[in-house]
Amino acid sequence: MPEPLATAPWQRRLLLALLLAPALLWLVGLIILPHLDLALLSFRERIAPREYVTSLAQYRTFFSEPLYWHVFLRTAVFSALATALTLLVAFPIAWIIAKVARGRMSALLFVVCLIPFWVSETVRTLGWMILLRESGVLPALLVHLGITAQPVELLYHDATILVGLVYTSLLFMVVPLVGSLESLDNSLIEAAYDLGARGGAILRSIVIPHAAPGITAGCIVVFMLTLGNYLTPTLLGGKNSLWFTEQIYTQFITRFNWEQGAAFGFLLLALSTVMVWLGLKISGQRFSDVMRRA
């Protein structure tokens, strides 16, 4: 453009407002307002048809009914476990992409991690079901190889849910890890090696401290995605999955108990907030640094 954009302060402010408007509209209209409404809903109790009072009854139900908080805890523990497993699986992949493979090979490996996401999550998970169900491909293969006498049901186990969750989350861990490992100067690794360190010590004292923001960012994203995942635990875990998002779904859709569902939703939000805060505290990272990596 030959002329400078806007020069007067008010022009610049207007421009800024216009540029931010779509994002702000989206944020306020689709996230903040519904959440405020749900928050109000969660503090309401129906005492008679069309008659409501403000109360903590919904939250009380959660704590008094063991199934609810058992599922809640189970979801938290499994999400943390899935996050840890994802980190373990993603770290070597990210290392190879960032440090070992060169040029085209590195790009190719990245695409391999990305390919599963070209298919919708539903189709992908249904694919897993075809592979894992009793009459599916993998049990048949196990029988064929003589490892099991009868086809075994590989679906509806906790391990199956974990495998599915790790698979779904892998990319979101690999991306921040690759970013933070790529920025690690190779000469630091060589210097540590030169000063007498072995692989383990180099990983512990050089690589992990450098990659900490990336690791934390990946863990936060994966943990949030896993905690809020509905499809994978439901399809792969069936009735046994006992995932908290299912409880929320049940309250809203099956029971038509929006008040209870809203309360559960906020409990889940509180859980993920607390876990993220804990993760940042433990790893000694600052939220702003981590989010720049994510």
């Binding site: 540590a192 030169d194 000063l195 004292s205 050089i206 450098h210």
Partner: protein
């Protein structure tokens, strides 16, 4: 270990390289290289970028495996010994200080890997920092330090492990000019105070000349010459060394006649000069002569020149005044060749103007004539 004052000096050199070879695909990076470095000396490997000096250094450090030959450090063969188990430490080009650690942790890192206790290694790190003039800086972060201080931390981090050999990979390259001059002196002082053998690689000939006891000038994976800085400067063995070490004027042409080891060289334009022959030169062969800027005498007229030297004439192209290092660039009348001549420090030519006519001469004994290399640069 030999006892000092022994009758025969049979001390094993700290570094001995024999027939070293390294190939990258079809390219020979290091070709059949043999040399040794005496204990406690400062050895530099000087060469243009891509000459194989970094490859050589990385083979000594153990990061690259040679394709042939042998490296012995302190009399022990290094075949199959990893970088973490060699009695060698390296100061990296960009220093590679660990940004996630404090200065003291950086220095104590190698000690920790050797299993030295926490209190002991912090004490030794602090003592080492004091030796390099950074007492009390242990608690600082590495990015709080100046370029020169970071350099000293990098050296302290290596020296605390008491290596047989310290390798330095152009550590001054990233510093600005003024600091580089200062660090040159500091490096030299540190080396003599530690008494450790330093192997230093650089493409900067002034660094190599100032710092080293011995210099290997490297080109295309080979040593062109190995000698003291004075030998390299005053008695270059090849035309590459003559052109690479120190400022030099290169005059290329054909040898017309040779008498009493003096070559009469004639350029394509017909300008004739005399120079001392290096090795045997046949009449008619392509040759190149080198004469240092300070080896030439200026005169406003031929009468001002030493009477026993052949006089030449030229025109002043530009004057580069730099105090004691001032030079005049002139164009020789016959060959149109650009020559660099040191201005005498008497100030006698302070009024010299660009475009002025000037005479010059040199003692043919101070000019060296080599057979021209087959491959023309």
């Amino acid at each position: 270990m030999s006892t000092p004052g022994a009758a025969t000096p049979v001390t094993t050199p700290d570094l001995e390289v024999r027939g070293l070879l390294k190939r990258f695909a079809a390219h020979l990076a290091v070709v059949d290289l043999s040399f040794s470095v005496a204990r406690g000396s400062f050895f530099s490997i000087l060469g243009p970028s891509g000459c194989g000096k970094t490859t050589l250094l990385r083979m000594i450090a153990g990061f690259i495996q040679p394709d042939g030959g042998e490296i012995s450090i302190g009399g022990r063969s290094m075949a199959g010994v990893g970088p973490n188990r060699r009695p060698v430490n390296m100061v990296f080009q960009h220093l590679a200080l660990f940004p996630m650690m404090s200065v003291a942790q950086n220095v104590a890192f190698g000690l920790a890997r050797r299993g030295v206790g926490r209190a002991e290694r912090l004490r030794r790190a602090e003592a080492m920092l004091e030796r390099v003039g950074l007492a009390g800086a242990g608690g600082k972060r590495t990015e709080e330090l100046s370029g020169g201080q970071r350099q000293r931390v990098a050296i302290a981090r290596s020296m605390v492990l008491e290596p047989t050999l310290l390798l330095l990979d152009e550590p001054l390259g990233a510093l600005d000019l003024k600091l580089r001059e200062h660090m040159k002196l500091e490096l030299k002082q540190l080396q003599s105070s530690f008494g450790t053998t330093f192997v230093y690689i650089t493409h900067d000939q002034s660094e190599a000349l100032v710092l080293s006891d011995h210099v290997g000038v490297m080109n295309h994976g080979r040593f062109e010459q190995l000698g003291t800085p004075q030998q390299l400067y005053y008695a270059p063995a090849t035309s590459f060394v003559a052109g690479f070490v120190g400022a030099n004027n290169r005059i290329a042409g054909k040898a017309r006649s040779i008498s009493a080891a003096l070559v009469e060289l004639v350029t394509a334009e017909g300008w004739a000069v005399h120079a001392r022959a290096h090795g045997s030169i046949a009449p008619g062969a392509s040759v190149e002569a080198f004469i240092r800027p300070e080896g030439m005498t200026l005169g406003r007229t031929t009468a001002q020149l030493p009477p026993d030297q052949p006089a030449h004439e030229g025109e002043v192209l530009s004057l580069l005044f730099d105090g004691a290092n001032s030079v005049v660039l002139l164009r020789e009348a016959r060959s149109r060749l650009e020559l660099r001549i040191a201005l005498p420090q008497t100030g006698a030519y302070a009024d010299l103007k660009v475009g002025a006519h000037i005479c010059f001469s040199f003692d043919p004994q101070r000019a060296i004539c080599f057979s021209a290399p087959d491959t023309h640069a």
